[in-house]
Structure formats: structure tokens, C-alpha cells
């Protein structure tokens, strides 16, 4: 299992850089990952999404779909795409220290 160093801590990731153990993630790492994903500075809008993804994953044990982010998380699909352009669910999941979303929706 590959590991990598983010913000001074070694974490477990898969081949594509997604966390395999979300417990290892810290908020400080999100800022570093956001730069890598070319999202830039994380705003309150970004954090609302990251927090929902983390909370929902913790409760359900699976990654939410974009539809669930909209309907259960109350985050408009347009906001998700505007804040994380170029692959919103994948990028936000990676920054939130979560596994790669596996759904087609």
C-alpha cells in the first residue's frame, strides 16, 4: 500500500492518491491537497462541501453521489461544480481525505 507525506505527516493512499484511511486526514492537509488539485484557497463554500462529504461518509460508510450532496447535503449541483471545477466529486473527495467515489451518478 503506497504512502505519502502531506503537511508533515505520512498517510496511506491508493495508487491515485485517494486516502485509504480517512482517519489520518487533518484539516491542515486539505489546504495542501487543494493546491495540488488546482482549487486554490479553500473558502467557507468549499468547507461546507468537504464537511458534508466527511460526515456522510462517516455515517453511511460509502461515498455520497452528487445527487445526495444536493438532496441530503443541501448543496446545489452548480455550486459543487463552480467550487471544484474539472471533476467536482473526485476532487472534493480527494481533498476531504476520502476514498475515490465509485458511483456513476
Amino acid at each position: 500500500m503506497p504512502t505519502r507525506d502531506i503537511a508533515g505527516t505520512t498517510v496511506d493512499v491508493n495508487e491515485e492518491g485517494y486516502f485509504t484511511n480517512p482517519e489520518q486526514w487533518t484539516e491542515a492537509m486539505a489546504a495542501v491537497l487543494a493546491q495540488e488539485e488546482e482549487i486554490g484557497e479553500l473558502t467557507d463554500g468549499h468547507w461546507k462541501i468537504l464537511n458534508f462529504l466527511r460526515q456522510d461518509y462517516k455515517e453511511k460508510g460509502t461515498m455520497p453521489t452528487i445527487r445526495r450532496v444536493k438532496n441530503a447535503g443541501g448543496i446545489p449541483t452548480k455550486d459543487l461544480y463552480d467550487l471544484f471545477p474539472g471533476g467536482p466529486l473526485k476532487k472534493s473527495s480527494k481533498i476531504a481525505g476520502l476514498p475515490k467515489p465509485a458511483s456513476c451518478i
Binding site: 445527487r67 461544480y81 471533476g87 456513476c104 451518478i105
Partner: protein, 164 residues
């Protein structure tokens, strides 16, 4: 790897059955999820997917569908003549919609809205609009423009064209 990446898709949705419409929607939405530019050109009976009065009444074609099985996908083969029994299409649609809801696949109206909000473009075919005597009022608000086939090709420059 990045050199071979698909950047743009133009999907033609020509069928008005549930199994005709969903693949187009899923492919368009999936493209946007990957950061791929996506548009859907609805033509012929596929146009019903963007007619606000009819888009959520779209049903599975049970007639002439030899792959149908009951009560689920691994059940007994449904004799094709039974597909014509009144209510069969509605019943099969209802069953499948339940399965889809469990997978978080939205109803057509909501799905079109999501694709639109994701930056996907929704177009209608001019020839069909004329043939069906439709006006702009008949369409869901996400429909961007009625296009001739020439305009569709113009907008599809550099895209992979997918016909469903």
C-alpha cells in the same frame, strides 16, 4: 495519458423509452463528473425526455424486448407477447424506478436539471420540433436551444459524437 483524454462529448438521444433515455443522461452526467464538456441533442422520440409535460412519464418498452425478465433481472424470461398486456410497461417501469432510486439515479426531470446545473448543454432537434408541432413552452426550462443538424455539428467540433 493526458494526451489521450476525451475532452468533449456530444450525445444524440433518439429514443423515447426509459432504456433509450437513461444511457444518454448517465453518459452526459458522467462526462461532466470527469470534467469533460458534454451536450445532449434530443431528437425524434428522444425529445420527450425534455418535454416538461411528458418527461416523467417515460416508460420501459416491454413490447419487442426479448431481454425482459420477471420479477427481476435474473428472473424468468417474459414471453414477448406478454409485454403487450395492458399495464405491463407501467409495472416494469415502476419496478425499475425503485431499483434506480436505491442507487440514487434521479427521475428524468431531476436528472436533466442536474446535468444542466453541472454545465451540460441540452439541445432539441429542429426537424423534430417542427414535425411534432412543438413550441418553446413545451420544453423544460433547461433546454438551451433548438438546433438544426448543421448547428449541432458546428457545436460538436472537437467532440466525440455518441448516438444512443
Amino acid at each position: 495519458m493526458s494526451e489521450g483524454k476525451i475532452k468533449k462529448v456530444s450525445i444524440v438521444c433518439s429514443k423515447g423509452s426509459l432504456e433509450g433515455v437513461y444511457p444518454a443522461l448517465i453518459m452526459a452526467n458522467g462526462a461532466r463528473m470527469e470534467g469533460i464538456e458534454a451536450s445532449i441533442f434530443f431528437t425524434f422520440f428522444g425529445l420527450y425526455a425534455i418535454l416538461k409535460k411528458y418527461q416523467d412519464e417515460i416508460k420501459i418498452a416491454t413490447v419487442g424486448n426479448p431481454a425482459m425478465r420477471v420479477p427481476d433481472a435474473k428472473g424468468m424470461a417474459l414471453p414477448t407477447w406478454m409485454g403487450a398486456i395492458p399495464g405491463m410497461s407501467a409495472f416494469a417501469t415502476n419496478m425499475m424506478m425503485k431499483e434506480m432510486e436505491a442507487l440514487d439515479i434521479p427521475p428524468i426531470g431531476e436528472f436533466i436539471e442536474m446535468i444542466h446545473d453541472a454545465g451540460g448543454k441540452i439541445y432539441a432537434c429542429k426537424a423534430t420540433v417542427d414535425m411534432f408541432h412543438l413550441t418553446l413552452d413545451d420544453f423544460c426550462p433547461q433546454m438551451e436551444k433548438v438546433l438544426t443538424v448543421g448547428e449541432f455539428y458546428d457545436l460538436s467540433a472537437g467532440a466525440e459524437i455518441i448516438f444512443t
